[in-house]
């Protein structure tokens, strides 16, 4: 395929869409599908047939429409009417309301407020196509400009220029660590010529996080294009997407996307008749949280037990089969296309001084509006939780928000005016993480939360190093002792000492960050631990 054909294909698809007056977009991401979106789409299609509107109305399945807590979601173009909690029974009413006259008729689902801060404060860059295009049709991706940046990069930029552009944009790894992406690319590119790999880390496993899943399900070609650009920049001709088995829909759509891209020669040999070859394969993880850690992920792709190994050597130097390997998270790779398209200056103008661009969060927990949000870096926690999330349901009060999953920590309500960026969150004792944000209300026991995460880490430890394997077990038992009101002050000291020991001596990120939920809750909610300490019944004195 050449550029002319690519542009022609996009034009044809846009013309096809323009023929229809109305486009009914049904969210077919995993969240809405579990709320019956497949049936909604079918009955909408049937209702269109019954009403004889096939010529003017198109029903299509799209990626995530964000407001996951109110699925199934349906959006009507061009009016941008959003219907929430749609059921199959609503379909005839939705179709008959298209004429505009019977907006208040019975059987019509609740209409979402597009002006609500939940939508209004968002800034879609990663999610710009999410909910707009059908992720299963490459034509729709091409219609919104897809694969043009790959062409641009291959034809008009040197690998060095691509890396400089990414470096200048200020993009940092969205997997949680925040390592400068341009620097990572430059390191791999500087390794001697030879076999190199690009790996997309799609092993999102944090409890409460679903950003990567949504991106993969909503816009898979975006990841493929980003990976190909990365491959060109670092000198790799092979890419792997390591995706967890728990994401069957994402896997299916990725497979389909790879097939389509191969068919149109946008992946494979001599892409756009250049000298650049790039192939992508999927590797499905068997469901171990530790396989999100890059060295364990590499071992897993190689067909070995998913155990981490000490770094250095870093994967950039010695990764897959000891070849230089670039590993980037899904969201990081999803940022590449817009950076190339709009330029690094544009990207660097968004966000804060040291954290550029936007961040996708999966907002869940005790919050009115749960769903996917993408906000510029620097948005305050309060804006996210209270304005966008709408606070706690039934006018409860927000106590804290947990970010960064098991590796992160809690941000108590008094620090909600903190802007969200890598450094500010670290200062608060938590981290950006991959982007899960779990809101907790005043009824939440923080010790209970700490134990929940410790239970998770205990179960997910690979068992290789002693502090993580045996330490997390003892930490869990200690927390249980508190919750059973059997703990003493000595146990509190033991809890702290063991937390630091596990944190400082573990081999990989899982163990190093496992005690974070304890340390963070101890930092802000130590009185909750104190309250659970057993009182000496004899003289009212506290047992030490």
């Amino acid at each position: 395929m050449d550029l002319q054909e690519l542009l022609e294909m996009g034009k044809q698809e846009r013309d096809r869409q323009d023929l229809k007056q109305t486009r009914i977009r049904c969210c077919t991401a995993a969240g809405c599908l579990s709320s019956g979106a497949a049936a909604v789409k079918n009955s909408l299609e049937a209702a269109v047939t019954v009403a004889n509107l096939e010529d003017s109305v198109e029903v299509c399945g799209v990626g995530c429409l964000r407001f996951c807590g109110r699925g199934a979601l349906v959006e009507i173009d061009p009016h941008r009417i959003l219907y929430e909690e749609v059921t199959a029974e609503n379909a005839p009413a939705i179709i008959s309301a298209l004429s505009g006259e019977e907006r208040n008729q019975e059987g019509l689902p609740v209409q979402g407020d597009r002006q609500h801060p939940f939508f209004a404060l968002q800034m879609p860059i990663v999610l710009e196509n999410s909910g707009k295009i059908d992720p299963e049709r490459i034509e729709e991706y091409i219609a919104v400009g897809g694969y043009q940046q790959l062409h641009h990069v291959l034809m008009e930029m040197t690998p060095q220029e691509v890396i400089e552009e990414i470096a200048k944009s200020g993009l940092r790894g969205r997997g949680g660590g925040g390592y400068p992406t341009g620097l990572k690319w430059a390191t791999v590119a500087k390794m001697p010529k030879g076999q190199k790999y690009v790996v997309c880390n799609a092993d999102e496993g944090d409890p409460g996080a679903f950003m990567d899943r949504s991106v993969l399900e909503s816009d898979p070609h975006r990841i493929l294009e980003g990976m190909a650009i990365a491959g060109y920049a670092v000198g790799a001709n092979y890419g792997y997407i390591y995706v967890r088995a728990e994401y069957p829909l994402a896997i299916k759509r990725l497979e389909k996307a790879i097939q389509q891209a191969k068919k149109y020669e946008l992946l494979g040999s001599q892409i756009f008749d250049s000298t650049f070859d790039f192939k992508i394969d999927i590797r499905v993880g068997a469901g171990a949280f530790v396989c999100g850690e890059e060295t364990a992920l590499i071992a897993s792709i190689e067909g070995k037990r998913g155990n981490p190994r000490p770094r250095p050597p870093y994967p950039a130097e010695s990764g897959l089969w000891e070849c230089p390997t670039l590993i980037n998270n899904v969201e990081t790779l999803a940022n590449i296309v817009p950076i190339i398209r709009e330029g690094s200056d544009w990207y660097a103008s968004i966000g804060t001084e040291n954290s550029k661009g936007t961040k996708v969060f999966a907002l869940t927990g005790k919050v009115c509006n749960t769903g996917l949000i993408e906000v510029p870096m620097g948005t305050t926690v309060r804006q996210i939780v209270e304005e966008m999330g709408g606070g706690v349901p039934d006018s409860g009060t927000v106590k804290a928000v947990q970010t960064g999953g098991p590796s992160g920590g809690c941000i108590p309500a008094e620090f909600f005016d903190t802007p969200v960026d890598y450094e500010s969150l670290l200062k608060l004792g938590t981290m950006m993480g991959s982007g899960g944000a779990i809101v907790m209300d005043e009824n939440t026991s923080m010790v209970e939360i700490a134990r929940f995460y410790m239970e998770f880490c205990r179960g997910e430890s690979c068992g290789k190093c002693v502090p993580c394997r045996a330490g997390t077990v003892q930490l869990y038992e200690l927390l249980s002792k508190f919750l059973d009101q059997q703990a003493t002050h000595a146990d509190l000291e033991k809890l702290k000492a063991l937390s630091y020991m596990v944190k400082e001596t573990s081999l990989c990120g899982l163990g190093i960050s496992a005690p974070n939920p304890i340390l963070s809750t101890l930092r802000y909610f130590s009185e909750e631990y104190e309250e659970l300490i057993q009182q000496d019944s004899l003289n009212g004195k506290v047992t030490v």
Partner: protein, 238 residues
């Protein structure tokens, strides 16, 4: 070959480039405790006993895999390291069922030695008393999982020196255990050559020769080193 000079516990050391801190310390006569490390097989840095402090680096580094660098200043025995090492040993004792009085390796056990060395007279953590099995299906050897500390020395010695790869790790976290073959009883594993290298490699009494009673286990650890040298340096006499 170029040489690096560094300081370990205040003592200047010169050693070949590419050597690890552990090797440098050994040469200087400074003992760093280890459990999973075994001369001759690959280092995995799993037991975390050999962690050391390096000035200018906030993380603790495993001496067995960290290469020396010019002017590196290493501390191997700070109060913090002593505390963490002791805790590591305590965690190991609490995790398995280690009863020295009835163990074949009593008096000849690296875990026991480590406990004495770090001054562990009791463990602060409650014993887990896991329900683990003993496999004596092999005609000459046996494996008692109660005494296993998952150092994976048997796994590596069998894979890297004998080339049989009988052993591996199954499950994860606290449920992880050593398996033979495809999780078969050891006696049924065709790949096993009955060479006994795993017995020599095991730091505790977990893998033992049958017929050995309490405190009788002896190892020929030098045999493993001899084999590696024979293969790599063609030194065929002991």
């Amino acid at each position: 070959m170029s040489v690096r000079t560094l300081t370990i516990d205040g003592q200047p050391v010169a050693i070949a480039e590419g050597a690890t801190i552990l090797e440098a310390a050994k040469e200087a006569g400074i003992h760093i405790p280890t459990l999973c490390f075994l001369e001759g097989v690959s280092a995995v840095a799993a037991c975390r006993m050999c962690l050391v402090e390096v000035e200018g680096i906030s993380k603790l580094l495993p001496a067995c895999v960290t290469q020396v660098a010019e002017e590196m200043v290493v501390h191997t025995n700070t109060p913090k390291l002593q505390e963490y090492r002791r805790m590591t040993v305590e965690l190991l004792f609490a995790e398995g069922n280690h009863v020295c009085s009835i163990c074949v390796a009593n008096g000849n056990c690296e875990l026991q030695d480590a406990a004495i060395k770090v001054g562990m007279d009791h463990t602060r953590f409650p014993y887990r008393f896991p329900n683990r099995s003993v496999d004596v299906s092999h005609p000459q050897f046996g494996i008692d999982h109660n005494r296993c500390i998952l150092c994976t020395r048997c796994v590596r010695v069998c894979d890297e020196i004998e080339g049989a790869h009988v052993w591996d790790v199954a499950q994860r976290g606290t449920a992880a255990y050593i398996v033979s073959g495809l999780n078969q009883p050891w006696g049924e594993v065709d790949a096993c050559t009955s060479c006994g290298k795993c017995v020599d490699a095991c730091p505790t009494g977990a893998i033992f020769r049958k017929g050995t009673t309490t405190a009788e286990k002896q190892r020929d650890r030098a045999k493993l080193e001899f084999l590696v040298n024979a293969r790599e340096k063609h030194e065929w006499t002991r």
